[in-house]
Symmetry: C2
DNA sequence: TTTTGCCGATTGTTCAACAATCCAGCGATT
DNA sequence: AATCGCTGGATTGTTGAACAATCGGCAAAA
């Protein structure tokens, strides 16, 4: 928790200098191009949520950890009410759970949750791949597969993990559905929450690479039924793997 | 908007008597049994969100309408901050959209949104029915079908609509997945938002009844593939119907 | 040992203030 | 007459401070 303040200090939020009034102007002055581009400056509450999300994804704030409003408000240099709004957002994303009158805690997924998450993934991903998608969307899937191959060749473990996420993101993107994509990214966030330690298993993603290639080929050849079946099998296997390392 | 205050006054929130401090105690004293039963009293923010959700579903607050923080805070006798928290919740449910610095507005679905909603439904419902489900869950589907038949016989239009919703809820319940169920109920809330006027079309649900029966039979007989195909066809047709009355 | 009752800490909620932002209207300019 | 720029009023975004309600733990009592 010590890193917190420094981390945002440099990017967005103020540290400890009274009221944080003019930061939008400062950022705009220092980086006017970016300021002009995204003309919608995220609200402070959103930025707090972003920061917390980041710490959650990185495994700072382990599951079960308690998040005290006043502490976080102080560390991030914002008001307690604002932290509260950020908590509301994170709660709706299931990254954090609220125990009434006791506080919010980092969500921790049990075995049923893992199964449930995969149930959602099966529903979404299989449905998306069954739809086929535009040639460009299919190309994006192929691109993610190649990215994975390169990472494997370079022995880049983290890159492999990212490529795998891109792959599944591209699968969902086949459906061209904002809502499905939103759901998927939430689900992935939940998984990161529970598995960020597991991602350090070296030969872990290795087997997936072949499966991804197979799925991609089936998709490209228009054999959607086969692609769907392969993807389903992949997800089942992945669930087993995750359940194994999680239960242990 | 005039009904607002009275509506909650009688149930949950206070009216206009200074600080709303002791209401929890009052309610508890006046109805101690209930207080002991549901030991988790929903927070004020949640109650505000509930009330707004209700008005949204009932078609009070038409799509596009603006929700001013101060106005609602006054009407419901709560603080602006609390209203704000309720807004955050509704925003995460897509029932309401936030235009930064301009306020929140009742969401209004365009043609793409309708299509998107159905894309999600196809993914979830088809996946759920493909899984089969326990005998009890199947029985629940059957029960919803029968409910629909009774409503049709009694010429109960609203009952027919409810039965239809129960039917699809039961379909999703087949998957026994809290997350899928949550997603589905949000999607249904979105649809209510856009279609509450359309539900007064009399012969509207009529055709669906037969489809539901067919799907249910296929499900009961274990022919999941056929059930899934029928359900998919149903959803496609339903989307067309909705798009028609929406576009017109 | 179990229960009771109290204490400190934290949450839930309110209120009041103020800067930032947007919108509508209005006048000035072309 | 149409456009531009300005200004004022209204609303949002955020803060800080206050206080009751509630929870968990701990010590005293049974």
């Amino acid at each position: 928790m010590a890193r917190t303040e420094a981390a945002i200090e440099g990017t967005y939020l103020r540290g400890e200098n009274g009221r944080g009034d003019k930061i939008a102007g400062q950022v705009g002055a220092r980086n006017s191009a970016a300021a002009r581009l995204r003309l919608a400056v995220p609200s402070v509450a959103e930025r707090v949520a972003d920061e917390l999300r980041l710490q959650l994804a990185e495994g700072q704030l382990p599951p079960g950890a308690r998040l005290t409003e006043s502490t976080i408000a102080e560390e991030l240099g914002v008001s307690r009410n604002t932290v509260r709004e950020a908590f509301a957002e994170l709660t709706s994303e299931r990254l954090v759970v609220r125990h009434p009158n006791r506080g919010v805690f980092v969500a921790s997924l049990g075995a049923e949750d893992i199964h449930d998450v995969y149930t959602v993934r099966r529903a979404i991903e299989v449905s998306a791949i069954r739809g086929g998608g535009t040639p460009e969307a299919v190309a994006a899937v192929r691109s993610a597969v190649e990215e994975g191959k390169r990472a494997a060749a370079a022995d880049d473990e983290e890159g492999l993990g990212n490529a795998n996420q891109h792959f599944h993101g591209a699968i969902v993107a086949l459906a061209d559905s904002p809502r499905l994509q939103a759901i998927m990214s939430q689900i992935l966030a939940e998984m990161r929450l529970a598995f960020h330690k597991a991602s350090s298993d070296a030969p872990f993603y290795g087997g997936y690479l072949i499966a991804n290639e197979e799925i991609c080929v089936a998709l490209e050849s228009g054999d959607l039924d086969r692609a769907a079946k392969l993807l389903l099998a992949y997800l089942d296997r992945s669930e087993e793997d995750q359940a194994a390392i999680h239960g242990a």
